[in-house]
Symmetry: C2
Subunit: 485 residues, 2 copies
């Protein structure tokens, strides 16, 4: 069998070369294929199905919090991009420019959106007139382009998929609440649906989104101890509104500027899933976003009754809304085991002649390799219940606990630059928790001396010391530091 060749080539061990291990999984689990355009990749069906599940859950959360989807054009005229000073400075160097339409040279060249604040502002200026028009709680699911020099699948590509929420409110207070609400939505989603613990925090001034008053983020720690920004939520104040002449008439008949936010997560989350949960056998997918939640592998499937029984199990699980696949191809069970381990399918069900004799099947869980026999009783009630319990509770909670344990083991409280350097050397990369005076010079020096940058100022503050880890002056915040993807 030609396909069995795959079994032979195993992937690089994550302890040996984490970056190569990542690239191997991306390729072998059929997530990404490269194209002839550098940094632009094909998101293959298995990865796209993960993204569709992410979209489905998040979109439900957005709609439950009152948001509507909309679709802006992908092109931004250069003159529009330039209206907000900080914003254009932040994005202009990394955009793709359309300069020709057919054979005609464009007068005002167009950039392919790197983000859509400017387009939403232009639209809001057209449709927001009175306090009755507020708030507008909009979101869109699109792709954006940023002309990155070095790229990696899911983590940094020139085009990537994301959602971008853009909201506009009558008051600063409402907009601030929205910024926080969406940060919490992201954190809930990551912790519950992706089984990935995150730290919620505010970015320092030097790390803010171009044009924002405040940027909030969720930060996750990958298996190798590097940090990954998994989602951001920005509060804009009325800066964009002023730059784009967005005004409304309030209840006192005064003309005032509204307040805005934006927030987004990207296909980067798929990279985060790989690096949080994956192991040396491949992907490990959280059940909520797994395209196949349970795979049924028949053993000795040519023997009488095996495929029939396997089909009955599949039907019983499907009837409960479980995403189940019965693989009755002519590949060997060994090949199938390796294949679905590589693809990170949360639950595997084995059924063969001996099992049928004993009126049972074997249920294996991907994340910890445990196997248990499950009785095949009437209508397969016990099996359905067992699998449901695994998918809804046991597996996500177990995966979360495992990821949290890794983060806890790799979080180091430090009170001096020497302690930071020593912790990283002795224990490996991780989150450093250390106090900061608030001075950008200290932030820069920590990075320069120890190699870790500020990831965020966590919402949940702890008192580690009285003074800044760098300069010894009175500390203002505990900062979470790390090396970032």
């Amino acid at each position: 069998m030609a396909k069995d060749k795959k079994l032979v080539e195993s992937i690089t061990s994550m302890d040996e070369d984490f970056a190569q291990w990542y690239t191997d999984i991306v390729k072998k689990a059929e997530l990404i294929e490269y194209t002839s355009v550098k940094g632009c990749m094909v998101i293959r069906p298995y990865a796209y199905a993960i993204w569709e599940n992410i979209q489905h859950i998040l979109d439900g959360m957005f709609k439950a919090t009152g948001h509507e989807n909309v679709c802006m054009p992908m092109f931004i005229p250069e003159s529009l991009l330039q209206k907000e000073k900080d914003h254009v400075e932040g994005f202009a160097p990394e955009v793709a420019w359309v300069t020709m339409g057919g054979s005609e040279k464009l007068e005002d060249r167009l950039c392919v959106r790197p983000t859509s604040e400017t387009l939403f502002c232009e639209h809001y200026a057209n449709i927001v007139h009175s306090y009755r028009d507020l708030p507008k709680l909009y979101n869109q699911w699109v792709s954006v382009v940023r002309w990155e020099k070095t790229t990696r699948p899911f983590l940094r590509s020139r085009e990537f998929l994301w959602q971008e929420g853009h909201t506009i409110h009558a008051t600063a207070q409402e907009a601030i609440e929205e910024t926080e609400r969406m940060l919490n939505v992201y954190a809930d989603f990551c912790e519950h649906s992706l089984a990935m613990p995150v730290i919620k925090g505010r970015k320092t001034e030097s790390d803010k989104f171009a044009g924002a008053v405040a940027t909030y983020a969720i930060e996750a720690l990958m298996h190798d101890g590097k940090a990954l920004q998994a989602g951001t939520s920005h509060y804009f104040g009325d800066g964009f509104a002023k730059a784009f002449d967005i005004e409304y008439t309030d209840k006192e008949n005064k003309r005032v500027n509204p307040h805005q936010t934006s927030w987004g997560v990207t296909t980067r989350l798929i990279g985060a899933i790989i690096m949080t949960h994956g192991d040396n056998s491949g992907l490990v997918l959280p059940p909520a976003v797994a395209p196949i939640q349970a795979v049924i592998v028949p053993i000795a499937q040519h023997k009488e009754g095996v495929l029939e029984k396997a089909n009955q199990l599949a039907e019983a699980l499907k009837a409960q809304g479980i995403r189940v696949k019965l693989d009755d191809s002519d590949n060997s069970p060994g090949w199938k085991f390796a294949e679905y381990e590589m693809k990170g399918v949360p639950v595997r069900i084995e059924i063969g002649p001996k099992d049928i004799e004993q009126s049972q099947c074997i249920v294996a869980t991907r994340y910890n390799g445990e196997k248990q026999p499950v009785a095949l009783d009437e209508a397969y009630g016990t099996l359905v219940q067992t699998v449901q319990q695994l998918l809804d509770k046991t597996i996500p909670e177990g995966m979360f606990a495992k990821a949290l344990e890794n983060r806890t083991n790799r979080t180091y409280d430090c009170t001096s630059l020497e302690e930071i350097t020593r912790a990283l050397e002795e224990k490996g990369d991780g989150f450093i928790m250390a106090m900061w005076c608030g001075d950008e010079a200290c932030e820069d020096k920590v990075k320069e001396v120890t190699g870790v940058g500020s990831r965020c100022i966590p919402m949940e503050q702890r008192h580690i010391a009285d003074t800044c880890v760098c300069c010894g002056k009175p500390a203002k915040h505990m900062v979470c530091w790390g090396k970032a993807y």
Copy 2:
């Protein structure tokens, strides 16, 4: 009330100026807003929600026929676009070119995809090696760009949303079956979910997709008698495979070229809905894709018990999965009636103090203006059942019959060019059914003399005459002719 101003401005009558009527609806039903980039528009939440419903139904039909979603990059290098000769000739004149990435000039300029055959071909060349890798049944939901000179909302815009299916098969037979299968999926969707009758047919040689062996299409007749191409399905043979060096090893161990198809529908379908079903009060939406299927308008809502009752009705309908909105804003009932008529909401439910006294409510259907009292019995069972029946059957069937009647009244069998001209003059624009010899010169002459072009060669042929409507030589096909959007 500021919002009540809207009531005063009515829309242009469709009989007076159909084009202006269309533009008025697009604006007043809050479907589209223009931007500063010519031909690129904002799809507003109400229109985007229609598109999401279209996507949801079609995506289910695609998956039920074995297709998987995938996502290709939006950029095509010029060198890749040029690989298939007919294809590049067809598309190169109307693409947007990216020539700069950041401040760097690109060596190989990139076009923003006008369609993605070339990208899929490049990908297939990478992943298709053996007969075991076939077929690949892929689809993607993305936006594409074509640099059109004149644009109209939904019908022709420089950027539009669509889905593009791209499949690759071991044999020509399989690919031809796929082309027909997807044409039928489109026709079923239009007739059942959009209540829009369509004619399935093959395009003539002069009207084929650039690079196709055969192009099939569904053609719909708009209220004004103009034709609209609502979806296309192309059979490519092995032409693209040869141009892109896609080969696989068959069961006899020979290297052969596979066969391909592609098929697509776009946000143009929203334009088709407007012009098939709309009237002088605004949009009329088919229930399957209506963002709001039933709106509840309370009468004298300040009176005791009215809002309470209205809320109970809303909850009862929601529990059945009906998309219901209760409008308890302080706008007048008259304003609300006009607003939801403009927005084409299929069912309106009125409930006021008098109704409550009589233990009833009034149910009005948008497409024909009929009203009926419905008893409010236990758990509102009769109301729920009545509304469900209206949404699932009565309304879509009634809308379909109405659209079909318009098409029947506007379909003219003709046997000479004079008959065509007379029919159009006397009865107005419509579908002309007339025989054709198969010669492109005659096709051109029909267009030149009468103004109608060939829309398609219908699958369902009728024998109208023995000879070509133009030259009098023996006829090969009955052709459906019309003026197209």
